[in-house]
Assembly symmetry: C2
DNA sequence: GTGAAAGCGCTAACAA
DNA sequence: TTGTTAGCGCTTTCAC
């Protein structure tokens, strides 16, 4: 890499002259500016990012800590974060916590050494279960702002971007009740994290309020053979005529299982799941989905963080919680279309 | 963040003493070392990463440029890269090229300003179509090594990690021929990128060598309604009894379409697709898959890059191409199990 | 055993 | 208009 020093030497001027010329300072003479810029272009000069970061005490880099990048929703949020950040001149350093508290702490501590200006993260499952928030507080105390999305720690004061999980399943369940479904089941592979709980509560509320049935819930484990579990569930509860799935695979598997048992979808069973458009194609008929607008969640999170980073007055204490509403997209696995 | 300066001041010693003490230099007296370390611990001192990078002229950071993070395979590779990099003390800065040549160039140029020590990337679709490789050469000329994976530019001299795409479909097709399938179709949504072409060639070779049919290929566009296209394809070619799918969704959709038309899988039609275990569950019976070992590809790429970065002699010119072999995992969508 | 000083690449206050 | 200098946080050589 070419440095200012080398340019200065070659042009027989001082380093600061070169620096000012390249930064369009008014101080420098017209033709000096021209000479400098020409040589800089010739040598493809770009300012050294590391030196700039050291000097200005900010890196224009955001640390992103994701629990699981193979989760389609989280990957999509990451996509949204990356796009917004890039557009606003920020890079992102990605760490994967693998749902582990320890890795989450490590990532936070590691990047808090000057590598990033702030964090965007989704709380790891283990951290949620153990309700551990000290590492977040510690990081914020160091002066590094955090924005949490999707799974958040309510007891940490910071900006947040969340989904209306409770409302989403409440409405989805009601929409099945409106189809006169009388045995609506709730299937979840994420019952131990905050959003999974909220989704279950939304379902429960709708059932207890309006339906003539008791709540009927199947909780899956990540290590389980989900196809098998869902099949047994259908076998045990022969009268299921509606399914709300809290995660992206369960909905698809539920449809395929129902079809496999000779049921018609949506005539005999309606299914709604949290999933993306691309996954919804994995069943015929297509799964009716609750869209979470993952990209927008990511973009919002990045926006909140960058705005906080670029605020002149860092005394701001009022933290924002932004709710990105889900949309029910009626495909062919439900009657109402 | 606490700095050496502050520690030095508080201890009434010089900055260099503190630095040496913390780095276990033999020069410093025992109890000075002790005092320094205690205070450092108390204040939770960590060396400023940016200052270190500037001083040592290396960042311990890898730039990763991915065409599409919503692609499950690519996300999994990223996972593998992240894990290996983290274990070896490197961070990763992720950029998404969105299959665009321009964004790929931007990312490369942007991070070549001292932000990273080298790159791991998968060539964008547009770059492959236009066969543009100058930006890669330019980057390497700047002294930043590149490791390419999956989709690579053969005319660029650098380390590469690839999949045995040709062999994979050749063998998969042969495995269907061995099941006495007589009308094996090839479905691809990725026919414009290098790996898509290789996969088609492997299929063609097997068909032309051993089968009694002509090659039968369906090429899908990303914007198409894939369910519809595949349905029409099955309608037009009623005698299809085998399918090789070059991408992860097409295989699932093919099975579901066949079932929907009343065909039995695998009795009437066998299906094999490039997909991951989790996606294979999206059909009943489960899709027989060609596993690409994405995580391992990522880990290998990171290993190659880090080894090159840490070689004392940077004169090394012999570049390695590592082939990670696919595995055919027989699930229930084929006869042979 | 400890400290002063230089230098990584850059910006900016101040001097000329 | 241009140059000198200090300093961001750190390591390391060389003096003391």
């Amino acid at each position: 890499m070419v440095t200012l020093k080398q340019l200065a030497k070659e042009l027989n001027v001082s380093i600061s002259t070169v620096s000012k010329a390249l930064n369009n300072s008014e101080e420098i003479g017209e033709d000096t500016v021209k000479r400098v810029k020409e040589l800089a272009k010739l040598y493809n000069y770009t300012p050294n990012k590391v030196a700039l970061s050291l000097k200005q005490n900010k890196t224009k880099t955001i640390g992103v800590i994701i629990p699981d990048i193979l989760n389609h929703f989280l990957a999509k949020v990451l996509f949204g974060i990356e796009r917004e950040a890039t557009q606003r001149g920020y890079n992102i350093i990605t760490c994967i916590s693998n749902e582990s508290l320890e890795k989450e702490e490590e990532a936070l501590d590691l990047l808090a050494n000057g590598s990033v200006d702030g964090f965007i993260l989704c709380v790891a499952e283990e951290s949620q279960i153990k309700n551990e928030i000290n590492h977040f507080k510690r990081t914020i105390a160091k002066g590094l702002p955090i924005v949490m999305f999707d799974r958040v720690a309510h007891d940490v004061l910071c900006d947040k971007v969340i989904v209306d999980d409770f409302d989403a399943t409440y409405k989805a369940t009601n929409s099945l009740i409106a189809e006169h479904r009388k045995n609506i089941a709730f299937i979840s592979r994420i019952d131990d994290i905050s959003v999974g709980k909220l989704r279950e509560r939304g379902y429960n509320k709708a059932i207890l309020e309006k339906a003539i049935q008791e709540p009927l819930v199947l909780k899956l484990n990540k290590k389980d053979d989900n196809q098998q579990k869902i099949k047994s569930f259908f076998k045990k509860h022969k009268n299921i005529d509606g399914v709300i799935a809290a995660d992206s695979s369960s909905g698809i598997i539920a449809i395929n299982t129902a079809l496999n048992k000779g049921l018609k979808v949506p005539k005999d069973v309606s299914v709604i799941g949290f999933a993306s458009k691309s996954v919804s194609e994995h069943s015929i008929p297509r799964l009716t989905i609750i869209r979470q607008h993952a990209k927008q969640i990511g973009a919002n999170a990045a926006d909140l963080l960058i705005r906080r980073l670029e605020k002149k007055y860092d005394e701001e204490i009022d933290f924002k919680t932004k709710i990105v509403k889900t949309t029910l997209v009626n495909n062919k696995s439900t009657l109402k279309q």
